[in-house]
Symmetry: C2
Subunit: 200 residues, 2 copies
DNA sequence: CATCTCGGTTGGCGACCACTAACATCAGGC
DNA sequence: GCCTGATGTTAGTGGTCGCCAACCGAGATG
């Protein structure tokens, strides 16, 4: 309705599309819904993105960049490898806004679509995420605060797997899977297993 | 094409539908594809299931029963709690046929659909899976082979999360996330963390 | 004021979706 | 050998999908 310069409209479309994709999935979301969520008519979408798929891929790429940036900002606050790893786990983008909504989108798309371009965007994104995490694990291992029993590479993948699984269960609407009756969280478990010490 | 008694046709439909749903997702799969995969025409589906959703829910429920049965058969081979837990982890239905295909279906549906009946079926399924796993963890804790530091409940959820995350990454087509260059697998990591001892 | 650019809308396209009415055909009991 | 019921097919239905051609109007520029 209201007029917006192209770059702002594009950003807004990505923002509102994230909410819609998170709730309805990639193929479940219709272009009519995407337009309505942004408060514009359908052809506006096609002025900024050449297709629904194109919009989705742009969303995945933006999410990837924002996630890495958020992590880097969090880790910039300390140089202690153990603290950095603990912060990495606690700044899980599955848990903390604004990644939470975005990652439901990514988790949905991972399993749902077999369009080659979408898969390529997701594979690329997860590869970068893993590389970042594995790098921090390696650093913590070199500093001697994490056991070298398993490679940083494999440990990184397990951490990614837990995060994706957590996101998928949350997307389903399960509420009991992130903590137990004593208020201990999954993050506590992971941190303790990795660093071998108690928090709280 | 060839005539089949109703119960066999129904079983075959569930079987072939699993493959289609695994590749295309729930809303991505069309009834035409489901029919073609079974080698029959579309109306046959509606003779055995009242809707596509109904067929899908039946598939989820059957998968749940088969998974629990497969685990029980595996665990029946030993009474040692540590060995039982190790077997549970290694008989991960994400890894072992025939669960592998089925679980790609379930992982996809978890994030994709917001149809209440489908979500209810999935929530129920995952609840049963978790209860089974948490029960084995509890048993291992009582026997003293697993630390009591974290509740069996929470530990069970983390195991479910790893399994779901593993399934999602596998569904994406990633091949490098299950093991490192030394041939150590995610299962090895989980088993070692839980039981604290080395295998192989 | 005339013009032109840019961000918006209406209306509708061809394709495909889940689902169905009506009809065909085979197997077995009599 | 005919009837009957279960298993199959053909040929659609109305509805919805992603996408687009054509047009509209505000406001900056001269």
């Amino acid at each position: 309705m209201a007029r917006l310069p192209a770059n702002q409209r594009r950003a807004q479309l990505l923002d509102t599309a994230a909410e819609v994709f998170a709730v309805r999935g990639y193929s479940g979301a219709t272009t009519a819904e995407l337009a309505e969520a942004a408060g514009v008519s359908e052809p506006i979408i096609y002025r900024h993105f050449k297709s629904k798929k194109d919009l989705f891929i742009a969303l995945v790429e933006q999410t990837g960049q924002e996630t890495i940036q958020a992590w880097q900002a969090e880790l910039a606050q300390t140089t202690d490898p153990a603290d950095r790893l603990a912060r990495l786990i606690r700044a899980n983008p599955m848990l903390v806004d604004p990644g939470r909504v975005r990652y439901r989108v990514i988790v949905a798309a991972m399993t749902e679509t077999n369009e080659p371009e979408v898969r390529a965007a997701l594979t690329d994104h997860l590869g970068k995420l893993h590389a970042f995490i594995a790098g921090q694990v390696q650093r913590a291992q070199d500093a001697g605060v994490v056991s070298k029993r398993f490679s940083a590479e494999l440990t990184g993948w397990v951490l990614v797997q837990v995060a994706i699984g957590f996101g998928a269960l949350t997307a389903l609407g399960l509420t009991s899977h992130g903590h137990d009756q004593g208020g201990i969280t999954v993050d506590d478990v992971i941190t303790a297993v990795m660093l071998g010490n108690k928090k709280n």
